[in-house]
């Protein structure tokens, strides 16, 4: 390097920097676009908004009376928003707060049910990070009716629960100071 002038050295340094930052950005954005998951409601999915085979998140309410257990840990239930329903298939342990009538978010892919041949959402993970007074914000938003004021959710509190002392949603995710 000793043969190079100061200016050339600086140019080389800038070049290395640009290549490095460019490489890192490329890496980052590739990983980003590959692993980004969009959030849908059952209505969106039935309207064909999602690509077949892509991993995505589906949010909605677990329809009352729809939960059916098969052998082992296999579970089938129906997830619904205000208008449409979507059958969901899952194998594994349900979260503590999973209940019929509650809002959940499922991560998985759109597929065909091997038993019934229907279009089914095959979930690999189910989240129900809420207590009685709280539900995932995406779900809450997706359950609002068109005028934005009411919710079709069959339980009391989408906005602020009146009986909650603080008037704010109390959630493990919000208050766990794991920062």
């Amino acid at each position: 390097m000793s043969g190079l002038s100061k200016r050339q050295k600086r140019m080389a340094a800038v070049l290395v920097l640009v290549l490095g930052v460019g490489g890192a950005a490329f890496l980052g954005f590739t990983a980003f676009s590959k692993n980004m998951m969009y959030f849908y409601t059952p209505s969106d999915l039935l309207a064909g908004a999602a690509k077949e085979g892509a991993t995505l998140q589906l949010g909605g309410l677990v329809e009352k009376g729809s939960l059916r257990r098969e052998d082992g840990l296999k579970i089938v239930f129906v997830m619904a928003d205000c208008e449409k329903q979507m059958p969901v298939r899952y194998e594994g342990i349900l979260p503590d707060l999973f209940r019929e009538g509650q809002g959940v978010v499922a991560t998985g892919k759109l597929g065909i049910d091997p038993v019934t041949g229907e279009r089914t959402f095959v979930a690999s993970q189910i989240l129900a990070k809420h207590d009685e007074n709280y539900m995932p914000p995406q779900v809450a938003a997706s359950l609002k009716t068109a005028d934005g004021k009411h919710s079709c959710a069959p339980f009391k509190s989408l906005g602020r629960p009146a009986e909650n002392l603080a008037g704010k949603p109390m959630t493990a995710a919000a208050e766990a100071p794991r920062s």
């Binding site: 890496l27 980004m36 082992g72 342990i93 349900l94 809450a140 995710a173 100071p177 920062s179």
Partner: protein
């Protein structure tokens, strides 16, 4: 009465913080030693006020004074005393009070240990810390007052969030805050240097122990947090890349970069400008973390928008602090630093340290992108997305792997100019040894290997061996082993230990990922399952009640001879109507057996989540080693001796003047 006293003490603290900020600044402008001297006493008075306020709130929690809204929300008559004390920081208001308590504690420490520093620099540092304190005290008093009364007074509290009722929680947030807030000292030193123009090797030497101390607390906080999540959340993972975790990890990466660039600034007087920028960056990321966790923006961007007082306050505060600091930097830094960085050769210790900084900062930026991008999209109504662990792993691993290679090379390359030939001579045997170990260990322990295990093992062994070389060479150059060990300075021990910790951590990560086994399974009473070569027999579940919860306790006999008893629980906390999974772990040096209960079925069977986690302890053990390394490095004699010498020099100069 007591709550009002606490509230009053907080208001008083705000007044004192104002004095602590303004008077020393005025003193610095007018060169008035008396005004400069106010800084120290103000810092001490402020600490006293905030400690009184904090003690008042703790008193209210211990005595279950439900006339306070915050206590009523987070306390309960059935809550054990220990958790009543830790519940003080269990939610928003109290954790902010802890934040300012720790900030004033750091300020107090600076006012005590900085007596040896030049009076103007020390006073400016305290002034900057005072201004940060003003921001947070205003935030508490205006938007998040823990002493707000509640009427009518409820007979029973809402209870502490059950997930926080765990001993791991008791120490982990204070540790994290010690780290977070500790970077404010490095930040204050950076701003003071920009204002006073005193930006030299001595400045770096004064800043180093403070930065290392903040870093070691943050390291321990993150380690404890990871351990707590593993034990408490029942998912068997040690890191989830969730935004709350990222909020603490970004300042850690920036702080790690800062520690390394401070070394260059102290030893070679180079990279000054970059070091100052990193100090600003590390503290800005701490503030950003506080914003993310405390504004409610993570729960929902729109929840934040509908109740914007808190979030907006932190956002504006952040804009003022970060914007102000960067503006000052843009104006002052070019005047203070001559074009020294051109003198750096890439193949030298400072060059490699610079490279280390680039990787660390880019890694922090990648995590920042993944954390903020979904929030920004949602805020602009461009769709709801989430970025899962696959993104973070895909970006983080290739950015962090080169650092392990650098650690080994950096340990043998001298300052100023390295020589490829002698570097290779010194490193060829460590490289070969690392390769042999990386291949031999997985086959010996597990009879198989994966690419990840081989690569991770290679990096881990390489880091441990190469990092130990420095100590080894120093010892070998002395006549006896004891002489040699005694001659190694604490700073070198600290660096070595921290780098070994990094290697140990990598080993844990690679082996858990490669040889871990997991199974979700439904078991009848007395039925067995085999996971990862271990047997698990389910002996049934029975009822078992605690002080403030009802529980179902499962009984499992695990291990090759079914001789280890595990009793995971499913708890129900009636006060909050919450279910909680309490997993059972049999911890071992080489493997953990981990079981948590899913749900009970009508026929008496239960669904169980079973994990076998080889070497998972190494992950936290690595963190503990880094913590200890930091402790050794921060307590190096050198800082105290040099300071004493400098004090003499300063005193002499003053006498002459």
């Amino acid at each position: 009465m007591i709550p009002e006293l606490g509230h009053f003490a907080l208001i008083l603290a705000l007044g004192v913080a104002l004095l602590q900020t303004l008077l020393p600044l005025a003193g610095w402008r007018r060169r008035d030693a008396r005004l400069l001297g106010v800084a120290g006493s103000a810092a001490q008075a402020q600490f006293f006020c905030i400690a009184v306020a904090y003690a008042c709130l703790t008193y209210c929690f211990v005595t279950k004074d439900f006339s306070l809204l915050y206590v009523a929300e987070n306390d309960h008559t059935q809550l054990p005393l220990f958790y009543r004390v830790t519940a003080v920081w269990g939610a928003h208001e109290g954790s902010l009070l802890l934040w300012v308590l720790i900030l004033s504690g750091w300020t107090l420490a600076v006012s005590i240990f900085n007596r040896r520093l030049p009076a103007d620099l020390s006073a400016l540092v305290l002034s900057v810390l005072g201004s940060v304190s003003i921001g947070f005290l205003l935030f508490i008093l205006l938007t998040s007052n823990p002493f707000t009364r509640l009427f009518p007074v409820p007979a029973e509290g809402h209870d502490l969030n059950p997930i926080l009722q765990d001993p791991g929680l008791a120490i982990h947030p204070p540790m994290l805050y010690m780290g977070y807030v500790g970077f404010s000292v490095a930040f204050a030193f950076a701003i003071a240097a920009l204002i006073s123009g005193r930006l030299d090797a001595a400045w770096a030497r004064w800043t180093r122990p403070w930065t290392t101390t903040a870093w070691l607390f943050l390291t321990m906080g993150i380690t404890l947090g990871s351990w707590w999540a593993y034990n408490e959340l029942g998912w068997g993972g040690w890191w989830f890349w969730d935004p709350v975790e990222n909020a603490s990890f970004m300042p850690w990466l920036a702080g790690t970069a800062l520690i390394h660039s401070l070394a260059v600034t102290e030893k070679r007087g180079l990279l000054k400008s970059w070091t100052v920028l990193l100090a600003i960056l590390a503290f800005s990321l701490s503030l950003l973390g506080t914003f993310l966790v405390r504004s409610g923006v993570l729960v929902s961007v729109h929840a934040f928008a509908s109740d914007p007082a808190r979030g907006m306050f932190i956002l504006i505060f952040m804009a003022v602090v970060v914007g102000g600091a960067l503006t000052l930097y843009a104006i002052r830094a070019p005047k203070l630093v001559s074009g020294d960085s051109a003198a750096i050769k890439l193949f030298s210790r400072e060059g490699l340290l610079l490279l280390n900084n680039v990787f660390l900062v880019v890694a922090a930026a990648a995590i920042l992108l993944g954390t903020l991008y979904p929030l920004v999209l949602d805020a602009l109504h461009l769709g709801k997305i989430s970025v899962g662990p696959p993104y973070f792993n895909a970006v983080f691993v290739p950015l962090i792997a080169p650092l392990f290679v650098l650690v080994g090379i950096g340990a043998v390359v001298p300052w100023k100019r390295g020589d490829a030939r002698s570097t290779w001579q010194r490193l060829k045997w460590p490289a070969l040894a690392a390769l042999l170990i990386a291949v031999a260990v997985p086959f010996a322990l597990y009879g198989r290997a994966t690419v990840v295990a081989l690569a991770g093992g290679l990096l881990a062994a390489w880091t441990v061996i190469a990092a130990s070389q420095d100590v080894w060479r120093r010892v070998r150059s002395k006549s006896s082993l004891l002489d040699g060990l005694a001659s190694v300075p604490r700073a070198v021990w600290g660096m070595t230990l921290a780098h070994i910790g990094l290697g140990v951590w990598a080993l844990g990560v690679a082996y858990v990922g490669s040889f871990g086994a997991e199974k979700d399974i439904r078991l009848q009473r007395n039925a067995e399952a085999t996971v990862g070569g271990y047997n698990f027999r389910f002996n049934g579940a029975d009822e078992q009640n605690g002080p403030n919860y009802k529980a179902q306790r499962g009984s499992i006999s695990a291990g090759r001879g079914a001789d280890i008893a595990l009793s995971p629980e499913k708890r129900f906390y009636p006060s909050q109507g919450t279910m909680l999974t309490e997993s059972a772990v049999d911890a071992g040096l080489l493997r953990d057996l981990y079981v948590s209960l899913g749900e009970g079925f009508d026929d008496g069977s239960w669904s169980l989540r079973i994990y076998v986690k080889p070497m998972v302890r190494m992950i936290w053990f690595g963190g503990v080693l880094m913590f200890l390394g930091g402790l050794l490095a921060a307590s190096d004699k050198r800082y105290r001796l040099v300071r004493a010498a400098e004090r003499k020099a300063v005193a002499g100069a003053t006498a002459v003047a």
